[in-house]
């Protein structure tokens, strides 16, 4: 027995086997890491596509509103009826409100676009300010301006385990 343990026969085979096992382990680790790296890049690329899909939807919306303004201006020069005409042309699903600044009416139009990505919703809020056309503001780009263009993700619930001071005395 002692003779067998002291024998160095086959020791190089054991070393090579250990080396191979180590190499297999490192190769598998390398494949796993690279695959997760690729998945992360694909996720980033998909998120980017969603961003530009929402952006494109917003651009279509602005174009649609500007088109309606142009239609009203081409149809009539009566600025007093401008907001009434615009209100009738806008889709019912679009939120709108009329307010007065220095006695001059202005309309705020707001809409939200939603797109699902990886079972979570992403949103784009678009808020437009429509000012009454006058002798100075004849250009449609001056009449219709963007107040808000905000991308946001679906709110998620979280449990606050640390008792943090929330700034309330």
């Amino acid at each position: 027995m002692m003779f067998n343990l002291k024998s160095q026969k086959g020791s190089s085979m054991v070393l090579i086997s250990l080396l191979l096992v180590t190499l297999v382990v490192f190769a598998l680790l390398s494949v796993t890491i690279s695959a997760s790296e690729l998945r992360l890049s694909q996720k980033n690329a998909n998120s980017n596509k969603t961003y530009y899909l929402l952006d494109s939807a917003g651009k279509r919306f602005i174009y649609d509103v500007k088109g309606k303004i142009k239609k009203i201006l081409d149809f009539s020069d009566n600025t007093a009826l401008f907001f009434k005409n615009l209100d009738s042309l806008l889709d019912e699903s679009i939120k709108r409100s009329v307010s007065y600044r220095n006695g001059v009416p202005e309309m705020i139009i707001e809409t939200t676009f939603v797109l699902e990505e990886n079972s979570r919703n992403r949103y784009l809020n678009v808020k437009l300010l429509i000012q009454q056309p006058n002798s100075i503001k004849k250009n449609i780009n001056d009449i219709c301006s963007v107040l808000e263009w905000r991308f946001w993700n679906e709110p998620f619930e979280f449990i606050n385990t640390i008792d943090l001071w929330e700034g309330k005395p």
Binding site: S30, L38, A45, I140
Partner: protein, 135 residues
């Protein structure tokens, strides 16, 4: 003698397996790097075209060539990637909106893959031609 042949065979099979695993890993990393760079380059191109008032860009096609480090290149021998862009009017009814289609392509196949002109990333976006409403 038989034992030596069998063990040499096992070692050879394992060695091939290990090499192929490292190759798969290398290709995956290369694809991830290419995808990240393609997204970055395409994003910067899109942002460059946003709010364009250049009417010459309304309907046109272009190609931008890159070397293996994703640096712009005009040297044919160094070119490894290309981004093809296609500007089109969205429709006759929507003349102030342009559709920009961008496609990033790798001109050489990845190791142990056959497909040349591998598409890395593609996207279609809408660009507003702000000059349209000033006309």
């Amino acid at each position: 003698m038989v034992e030596i042949i069998v063990s040499a065979g096992i070692l050879a099979v394992l060695a091939v397996g290990i090499v192929s695993l490292f190759t798969v890993s290398y290709v995956n990393i290369q694809k991830a790097i290419d995808l990240d760079n393609a997204v970055l380059e395409i994003n910067s191109l899109i942002e460059g075209f946003q709010g364009t008032e250049n009417s010459t860009a309304k309907v046109s096609r272009f190609s931008i060539y890159y070397d293996d480090k994703w640096e712009r290149s005009v040297d044919d021998s160094a070119v490894k990637y290309v981004i093809n862009g296609d500007f089109k009017q969205l429709s006759d009814e929507q003349k102030g909106l342009l559709n920009l289609s961008l496609r990033a392509v790798r001109l050489e196949p990845y190791p142990f893959e056959n497909s040349e002109n591998h598409e890395i990333y593609s996207i279609d976006v809408i660009i507003e031609d702000t000059s349209y409403w000033s006309e």
